[in-house]
Amino acid sequence: MKQRSTLPPTEELKTKSLRIVPPSGLGVWLTGLTAAAMSFLAVFAMALALTAGLVAQNWSSELQGRATIRILPSNENSAQQLDMLLQILAQTPGILKAQPLDSATQTALLAPWLGDDIPFDALPLPQLLDVTYAGERYDFEGLRLRLAAELPDAIIDDHMQFRGPILAAAQQLRWLGYGALGLILSVTAMMVVLAANAALAANGTVIKVLQLVGATDRYIVRAFVRRFALRAFLGACFGCLCAVLALHYMPKVAENSAFLRAFGFVQGQWIWPVALPFFVAGIAYIATRWAGYRKLKELI
């Protein structure tokens, strides 16, 4: 206990609404801890949602408008088959470009799997065509049927079979992330309401004294709100920082998974983890205010 024999200077006698709520209350600590833990989780939920969104977008834009046609090796004259295919494609509306891959490119594609020293020329390899189409005007099913009828050795693949389910999964993952984020923030609000209620109940004497010396509800609530919002903000800052560090130092074994490598935030997305503490403080502000006015109405 500090003993003061002389009076403090004028500045010290000014409004100190912040200190009217004891700084060491359980509710205040709980709020800080909750905000920290929840922000930590929220950053991961956010990263999940944003990464899933980004991956889905990349995949669909990368593969959008592209198809591959394979001419399976057969007894037919492959050059003739290729000519015929190109003719069919020329007649198909919506096809922008059809580019047969030359043997060097094909070899390069296969080399990682088969090795360099394989005599590719001797192998019965399919001829590959890279097709670019304009989405709206192109009738995949029609082309597929026509090829089946006229050139059964040519098989078209627009990557849909492979892309569809993964895209759906990525979308779902993204909504899952947003859902988790929503839940986390709601739970934060509820915890703050509970903690604020507990603090208001525990500080019954403080509130009574304040009311008797003429403090308005607004003044009393503001004192609580400030303390809680500030604690929530500090807690959230700490939680976000930990989460961002954890993301940064995520194990490098994830290197060969495209998704795990992308997991985190890119450029503009950093605004979200940075904004989170402010958002959490806002939630605490609203939650405490609401709880405060409710409790004060209850008291009288």
């Binding site: 006698l13 609404s17 700084p23 004497t205 009311q211 003044y219």
Partner: protein
């Protein structure tokens, strides 16, 4: 300034106060006396609208305390200084912060000179930095009185302000109230101490209200 009209108050069981009609004029000095448990504190709580009457009407500053809306109450309380019998403080704040609390909540700054003078008068200048928990009962009462008068309110209600202090200090505290009364403040002091009442009556025209069996009577000059 304060008017009771056929006021009754009950905490649930039998009436603590019944059929009380009293006028407390502006600038008057009243003592409130009566046995323990007779309802002195209840009377004062009705005056500062901590309680509202079960029956009848209490008006303060010509406002019916029943009809006060939530936002009016703080405004009214700022015009009344109260020394509560329990002397409740905000225990984690220092004595000085507790004393200036009524100014703080009203958004007013304290003039250090006034605060110093006041604390010197009640003999508290050596304990300003302590927290209320470290004070003796008498010191707490003096802090409560200092807090009640710091805003120089129009009405000062003191519930047993001298219960735990020695005779010298009692006189000193009452002198403060008498001085404030001379400045035009309305004072009501609840006390058991008849000696104190007699001494003060010699200095100022004070009326004595006696609570007996739930009724408030004006005591005669005999006392």
């Amino acid at each position: 300034m304060i008017a009771f009209e056929q006021v009754a108050y009950s905490y649930g069981g039998t009436a603590t106060l019944s059929d009380v009609t009293v006028q407390i004029a502006s600038g008057s000095f009243h003592f409130l006396t009566g046995p323990s448990g007779s309802g002195k504190s209840t009377f004062l709580k009705l005056c500062y609208a901590d309680l509202v009457p079960s029956l009848g009407r209490v008006s303060v500053f010509d406002q019916d305390t029943h009809a006060l809306i939530r936002d009016d109450l703080p405004q009214m309380r700022r015009r009344i200084g109260v020394v509560h019998q329990e002397c409740q403080f905000i225990e984690h704040l220092s004595v000085i912060d507790n004393v200036i609390l009524p100014l703080t909540v009203a958004g007013r700054a304290a003039l250090p000179k006034d605060v110093t003078d006041l604390l010197n008068w009640v003999g508290l200048s050596s304990v300003v930095g302590m927290t209320p928990a470290a004070l003796s009962g008498g010191e707490r009462q003096r802090v409560a009185l200092a807090r009640a008068v710091i805003t120089s309110p129009e009405i000062i209600l003191a519930d047993e302000p001298t219960g735990n202090v020695d005779w010298e200090m009692s006189l000193r505290l009452l002198t403060l109230l008498v001085e404030l009364n001379k400045m035009g403040k309305t004072i009501v002091v609840a006390t058991h101490d008849l000696n104190l009442i007699r001494t003060v009556k010699a200095q100022v025209a004070a009326r004595v209200l006696r609570i007996k069996d739930g009724r408030v009577l004006l005591a005669g000059a005999d006392l």
